[in-house]
């Protein structure tokens, strides 16, 4: 087990190191950030001074080396644009994304798996057909459009929910969260639905396909023959057997939504990290881009690692494989 953890950790380090090189070279290839941000009146001396101050006058490998040596000391650098440490910038916006993403991904999973199992268990009922129809919609309708329609309907026409932004926050362990307040919740509802819709559809389809397959296997036949109730069979046997792909997808979705909830965050003016990275790319704010993508790589590696551990917990076969 320890060897497994060390192997994963080394893998993570390599992925993150590669990420920094790609971003450095990528930004370098696009051009000099100075050309985007410097105002027209700037004379050559002023321009040179700015370039020197940001360290952009040095050769690329030297800039990279300086960045890496700072990184090893725990310093990810300062944003060109905001002049504050990158970690502070990302950290200040992470809770907003975290609460939005967790609420939407978890509720999409719970609801999607329940509906999916039902649709797989009774494939011919009209309700199942309705569920599947909804899942097709969830897949095929672009999320920016759904977001705008949600705003138009619930915020502009009905006036029930706010059109965007984050609501009142309370401090828990020194971090500002908005979900414990009523006002905060009312702000989360629409973006969470918007974000959840696609995942809901995917979870429904996964759970349904899994259920239909498992229901035909000997496991279920023997369980029925043993006289177990249908409810027990679904909870104790079916759920466990269909959960491997669902957990895999859950992990990947959690990671990608945390990192790139850009569209929803933009439409609902949600002050999260997805918006931050897009804006940073827009002005080639390299410290933020590099730091952010390094952190994203870390998040993905961590999630995958946790998923592997969970697999081992629910599937005895994998557990034996891992310890062997």
């Amino acid at each position: 087990m320890l060897g497994f953890i060390i192997q994963r950790f080394l893998q993570a380090v390599v992925v993150m190191a590669v990420m920094t090189v790609i971003v450095f070279c990528g930004v370098y290839a696009i051009g000099n950030p100075i050309d985007i941000v410097i105002p027209p009146e700037a004379t050559q001396d002023i321009r040179d001074e700015v370039i020197r101050r940001l360290g952009l006058d040095r050769p690329l490998y030297e800039q990279y080396f300086i960045f890496m040596s700072n990184l090893l000391q725990g310093d990810l650098g300062r944003s060109f644009v905001y002049n504050i440490p990158v970690l502070e910038l990302i950290g200040g916006r992470l809770p907003a994304t975290l609460e939005l993403v967790l609420i939407s991904v978890i509720s999409a999973t719970v609801l999607g798996v329940s509906l999916g199992i039902y649709a797989g268990y009774r494939p011919d009922s009209w309700l199942s057909k309705a569920i599947m129809a909804i899942s097709v919609l969830g897949f095929s309708v672009p999320s920016f459009w759904v977001g705008l329609i949600l705003i138009l309907f619930f915020a502009v026409n009905l006036g029930w929910l706010p059109a965007g932004g984050r609501g009142d926050t309370v401090e828990i362990w020194g971090v500002a969260w908005s979900f414990p307040t009523l006002n905060g919740l009312s702000h989360i509802v629409l973006p969470a639905i918007n974000l959840a819709l696609f995942k809901l559809a995917m979870m429904i389809r996964l759970a349904r396909a899994g259920t239909r397959e498992i229901m035909l296997t000997d496991t279920i036949k023997f369980a029925r023959a043993a006289g177990l109730s249908e409810g027990t069979i679904l909870r104790r046997h079916l759920l466990k057997l269909i959960s491997i792909p669902i957990i895999t997808v859950f992990g990947l979705e959690l990671g990608s939504t945390l990192a790139f909830a850009v569209v929803t965050e933009t439409i609902f003016s949600w002050p999260g990290v997805g918006k931050l990275i897009i804006d940073s790319i827009g002005v080639l704010d390299r410290p933020v881009m590099v730091a952010y993508l390094v952190l994203v790589a870390l998040v993905f590696v961590t999630i995958n690692f946790v998923i592997d551990l969970v697999f081992a917990m629910i599937d005895p076969r994998l557990r034996q494989g891992a310890t062997a």
Partner: protein, 528 residues
């Protein structure tokens, strides 16, 4: 949408009763962009300065039409070739109750080059060689040579408190000190309450403001970058006023009785720029072979391009009416705009004849590059341009791309024909012509944005003498003459002047649109 008729009035009534008295004293503005820091000296970006103007005052004020007016300085005059005397306003107090005096101005000017970020504010003090405090309310500012437009440079020279900001004036400490509010002490109409990057800026009224008391006790400046979301927030009653309504939404707003749309002229003009180098990369013959010379260097070809463009159609169709045809690089009425320049006529037949005359009866092929995400309509104008040029025989491949890619490539001189907007933010010609029309010459600090290697010796001379003329009338005439010559050369072809739209709750607010597109709470008043 049938239900809408019933729901809207209901929602509005509910909104009014729910927030009631509080809303009358609070102005919530939904704006597209925001500050990058609370340090006014950190960035020269428009939204940054716009936010800073709520808390800090500038030495010289630029009015609604960008005319310069007294700000914290009551008057100014040159005392000799390279010295300006500024007399400061008496009795102005900072938000912490301390007095404003000449030391604060000197401190602010000297602080700028130290703490500025990449969108450098050093440009505002680039001509300043030294500052002498004569008495508590008089300053002598020495410049590097004659600096006729020094007062124009100072319209974004924000004055911070020399006491409050003293400990926060290095690149490492400035953001912390100002973002926390410790150093965010200005003389402006509103006091700083709170801010987070990309989030809300909350302000409280400064009751002792020297211009008089503002109309709103509290001002909340919400950053909502997405155009549709900003409009939705206005329609849902979350904000009272928004800036930058898109041209598509503007048509719908005009029919919406709940929203007032206010249209204002913008300083931004779209300019087509034609590379004047002998060897230009992205022009070729129709069959793809190389041309003997760069056709864009031929005045007839440039005139043909000018005649191929239907500016009125651009405005009516592409911009949905939100713009005006432009014949020069600055809006009419600006210092140095010439009334003698004719509006070019749309005449495709003449364009074709001119092309044939120049030796290109079958036209040629060119790659056109434009920004697509910088200003309203830039991508669409680019496509319109492509069609109009192709119609007269110049086969144009349209590339409307992100500004993130466009500007660095433009700076590397990789384009032959390109278009982007230029805003004359100072309201006078030395800014625009000095940057674009003078040949690129770092020695005289002119032409830094001339990316087509345009060079007209007469223009160079006019711009160099104009920059040294202290008499405003003489200077104005010189710049007008330079503008006429530049526009006649057609290396820069101005297409349209943009207009911007603000949206506000119907009948609630009164304000004049500003040329620089700033949305300033102090100048917005309740309608009744």
């Amino acid at each position: 949408m049938k239900y809408r008729k019933f729901i809207m009035p209901l929602a509005v009534t509910l909104g009014l009763t729910a927030v009631g008295a509080a809303s009358a004293q609070t102005l919530t503005m939904g704006v597209r962009g925001g500050p990058e820091s609370m340090d006014p000296h950190f960035s020269a970006l428009g939204p940054h300065a716009e936010a800073a103007k709520h808390i800090f005052d500038t030495l010289v004020w630029s009015g609604t039409d960008l005319q310069i007016e007294p700000g914290l300085a009551e008057s100014w005059a040159p005392v000799d070739e390279d010295t300006w005397e500024f007399k400061l306003r008496q009795g102005v107090k900072f938000h912490d109750g301390s007095n404003f005096d000449a030391e604060d101005v000197k401190f602010s000017i000297e602080r700028i080059p130290v703490v500025t970020g990449p969108t450098t504010t050093a440009i505002y003090v680039r001509r300043v060689a030294g500052v002498d405090v004569i008495d508590s309310h008089t300053l002598h500012i020495h410049t590097d040579g004659r600096a006729a437009t020094l007062p124009n440079d100072f319209i974004r020279l924000f004055i911070v408190s020399s006491e409050a900001a003293a400990a926060y004036s290095t690149p490492e400490t400035s953001a912390g000190g100002f973002n926390s509010g410790a150093a965010t002490i200005g003389t402006g109409p509103y006091k700083y309450v709170s801010w987070e990057p990309k989030g809300d800026l909350v302000l409280a009224r400064n009751d002792d403001y020297w211009r008089g008391k503002g109309a709103w006790e509290t001002v909340i400046r919400k950053e909502i970058p997405n155009d549709s979301s900003r409009l939705a927030a206005l329609k849902a009653g979350q904000v009272d006023v928004i800036n930058y309504v898109s041209s598509v939404d503007y048509l719908a707003l005009d029919r919406d009785a709940n929203i007032d749309a206010v249209k204002g002229d913008s300083v931004y003009i779209m300019n087509l720029q034609l590379d004047q180098r002998e060897d230009t990369p992205l022009v070729r013959a129709i069959d793809g072979s190389d041309l003997a010379e760069n056709p864009l260097r031929d005045l007839k070809v440039r005139q043909a391009i000018d005649h191929a463009i239907d500016r009125q159609t651009m405005v009516d169709i592409v911009l949905e009416g939100l713009g005006k045809p432009a014949n020069q690089m600055m809006p009419p009425g600006f210092f140095g705009s010439s009334e003698a320049i004719p509006m070019p006529a749309h005449d495709p037949a003449k364009a074709k004849a001119l092309l044939a005359d120049a030796g290109y009866p079958n036209g040629f092929e060119v790659d056109l590059y434009c920004t697509a995400d910088r200003l309203p309509g830039d991508g669409a104008i680019c496509q319109g341009l492509g069609q109009m040029l192709t119609q007269v025989g110049i086969k144009t491949n349209v590339n409307a791309i992100s500004k993130t890619v466009y500007f660095p490539a433009q700076a590397r001189l990789e384009y032959s024909m390109f278009m982007n907007g230029w805003g004359t933010l100072t309201g006078e010609a030395s800014y625009t012509l000095g940057g674009l029309a003078h040949s690129n010459n770092p020695d005289v600090k002119l032409g830094a944005y001339n990316r087509i290697e345009y060079k007209n010796d007469d223009v160079d001379m006019l711009l160099q003498t104009g920059a040294r003329m202290m008499d405003p009338d003489e200077r104005r005439a010189t710049y007008e003459q330079a503008m006429e010559k530049v526009m006649a050369d057609k290396a820069y072809i101005s297409l349209v002047q943009l207009q911007t739209v603000w949206g506000a709750k119907a009948g609630m607010l009164k304000f004049d649109p500003r040329f620089d597109e700033d949305t300033l709470a102090f100048f917005i008043t309740p309608a009744n």
